[in-house]
Symmetry: C2
Subunit: 362 residues, 2 copies
């Protein structure tokens, strides 16, 4: 069996969850759904498969203290920091340097820190299968999500769902990728959904570290050269300086656009485990438990003549009278009142605060 | 000219302004509209007519420290406390005892502490006129409000608006009361409004202290006997005990029901000075200044795609996204989100908190 390492990407700033998410406490470090923070749940979800010493987190300097505090079982050296966010390709490449030094044939499981899965057993079954395929084939593997609606907020992956004799894993439910598709408009999304051979791009990847580093070298050769400079500095005194300098030069690009779309023979599994990337307050309401009036309350609240409303009261009490279809989020210093279905515009509030340099609220 | 004393009634608990109003800080002690608390504005409004040493406030023990603090120009002995609220008749009778000891012929101007008037000059003109009529005639005088809508939340007063030769003040715009009417239903309220000879009962009264005490003696003889016991105890050691005992016995009744409706030859002036009793958050929104989207904001707020919404942010920031017709009130420990037009149900929240004995929020 291969060595398996998890790399949890946890650098996001999560402005869509303002006023709960802040620069110092973004979405992945919050209890958004149920018990435990999202990153804690991400670690716990894979702890049957991957032991803590093999779980790495890539985050930034501001968030590192909170990450360390929330994940006390992880060795501190497993918390890798980036000086600045440069999208997923450099993040994965940086983590890959550390894994490759331990074992070039190790399998890397790359997971966002802020997704949820309702059927965790099925998720782990798929990860085990993906790990085996990635190790044996030496190819890149990703987990797609069986779509349930014509969502325009995700990229899609078209799979080859007929057995062409070139896919030794076909019988196991592992497909070859036909093509990656950008976020579609709603008409295209409907076509994708009806066609049956498209899945959502979840941002979860499984590969041998030698495979992904080779692909980065092939498709992002400049970035690869910069990563080698960091590799040379690992363990040296000037490591932080080298990383800082490198990240200033390096181009921000996603692993999807920079590598996956260009790589050959990518495998994809169909995920069907109640996945959500919990991308907005609307989505939190969608997946939350609700009472007979469609209300979902966290904290102290009194709801009178109120329907289909999400309330998070923080340390206060929230009272509602005669309202429908709202999202009400109260924190120690801010209150958000948002119409259901419009929570994508919460970022407008964050932009406003940034423009007005109200840094205490950011 | 007579001695003129003001008696400001400030005992209300104002549950309709939760979460801003609390037992210790009811509506009259808050800045609800514009600058200054309502009781401060009530005092300032009459300060051209009545000097501070002649202004008395009747309140309760819980509120007395705040009243004293907010009205530093009033002598402390002018802040009279009731051990328990017993409606307006005992309140007025108690204050009357103190005024009568100074000057039985003094004119008492009785004012609620929590009303606003947009045209304060006109209000003072009417008070001067009422004071003169009350002093000269020895009759009870009240200020009615020219109605602007078929309001069902107020009592009405029908005036005799034809000169019957029995009213020496008719030419001055001072009318005899024909009858007092309870809060009407909406059909009746429409009839009242259209008839032109009904005004709203504002709860403001002007009379010589000997006149009102005589009327109390006539129409509420039991209460009058109890008041005499208090009168005997004024200045004595057991004053507090006597008041406490008396208020346990005394019947709670309004001056309107107990005296005004039964008294003969009551005069009423037509008030036309932009009056409001600021009875609810809806009413605050109605009289507040608004921007081009119909929003009225006090404090820090960011309103995105938001219309006809009242926001009070307290020490926090409030952000709204895509909402209409709301009342949003944020305090240090509570948030209210209420649909416009339903703020009468805010008391449901207060009732809930009382039932649950959440005394910190009351």
């Amino acid at each position: 069996m291969p060595n398996v390492y998890a790399v949890i990407m946890a650098g996001g700033v999560g402005t869509r969850f303002w006023p709960r998410s802040r620069e110092k406490s973004p979405k992945q470090l919050l209890e958004i759904v149920g018990k435990g923070t999202m990153i804690q749940n991400t670690v716990n979800r894979i702890s049957d498969l991957i032991e803590p010493k093999n779980i790495m987190v890539v985050t930034n300097k501001i968030q590192k203290p909170m990450v360390t505090k929330q994940l006390p079982n992880l060795p501190e050296e497993n918390i890798i920091t980036e000086p600045i966010g440069r999208n997923t390709a450099p993040c994965i490449g940086l983590a890959g340097l550390f894994v490759r030094r331990i074992d070039p044939e190790a399998v890397m499981v790359v997971l966002p820190a802020d997704h949820i899965m309702q059927d965790e057993e099925e998720f782990r079954r798929l990860l085990r299968l993906a790990t085996w395929v990635a190790y044996e084939s030496g190819k890149l593997v990703t987990v797609g999500i069986q779509p349930t609606r014509p969502e325009t907020g995700y990229g899609y992956i078209q799979v080859i769902d007929e057995d062409d004799g070139k896919n030794p894993y076909f019988q196991k439910g592992v497909f070859k990728v036909k093509t990656f598709a950008e976020k579609p408009n709603v008409e295209t999304a409907k076509v994708f959904l009806e066609s049956g051979d498209f899945v959502w791009n979840s941002g979860m990847f499984i590969w041998r570290v030698d495979a992904i580093m080779r692909e980065i070298e092939t498709h992002l050769p400049e970035m690869y050269q910069e990563l080698l400079k960091i590799d040379d500095a690992i363990g040296a005194e000037d490591y932080d300086n080298v990383v800082e300098t490198t990240y200033k030069i390096i181009r921000g690009i996603s692993i999807d656009y920079g590598v996956m779309e260009k790589a050959k023979d990518v495998y994809v599994l169909r995920g069907n485990f109640g996945w959500s990337d919990v991308g907005s307050w609307d989505e939190v309401y969608r997946i939350a438990g609700k009472d007979e009036n469609g209300n979902s309350v966290t904290g102290q609240a009194f709801l009178h003549n109120t329907k289909n409303t999400l309330v998070y009261s923080g340390t206060k009490i929230v009272a509602t009278v005669g309202v429908d279809d709202l999202i009400i989020i109260s924190t120690d210093d801010a209150v958000l009142v948002c119409k259901q279905g419009q929570s994508q515009d919460v970022k407008e509030a964050v932009d406003y605060l940034r423009r007005k340099q109200k840094v205490d609220y950011l």
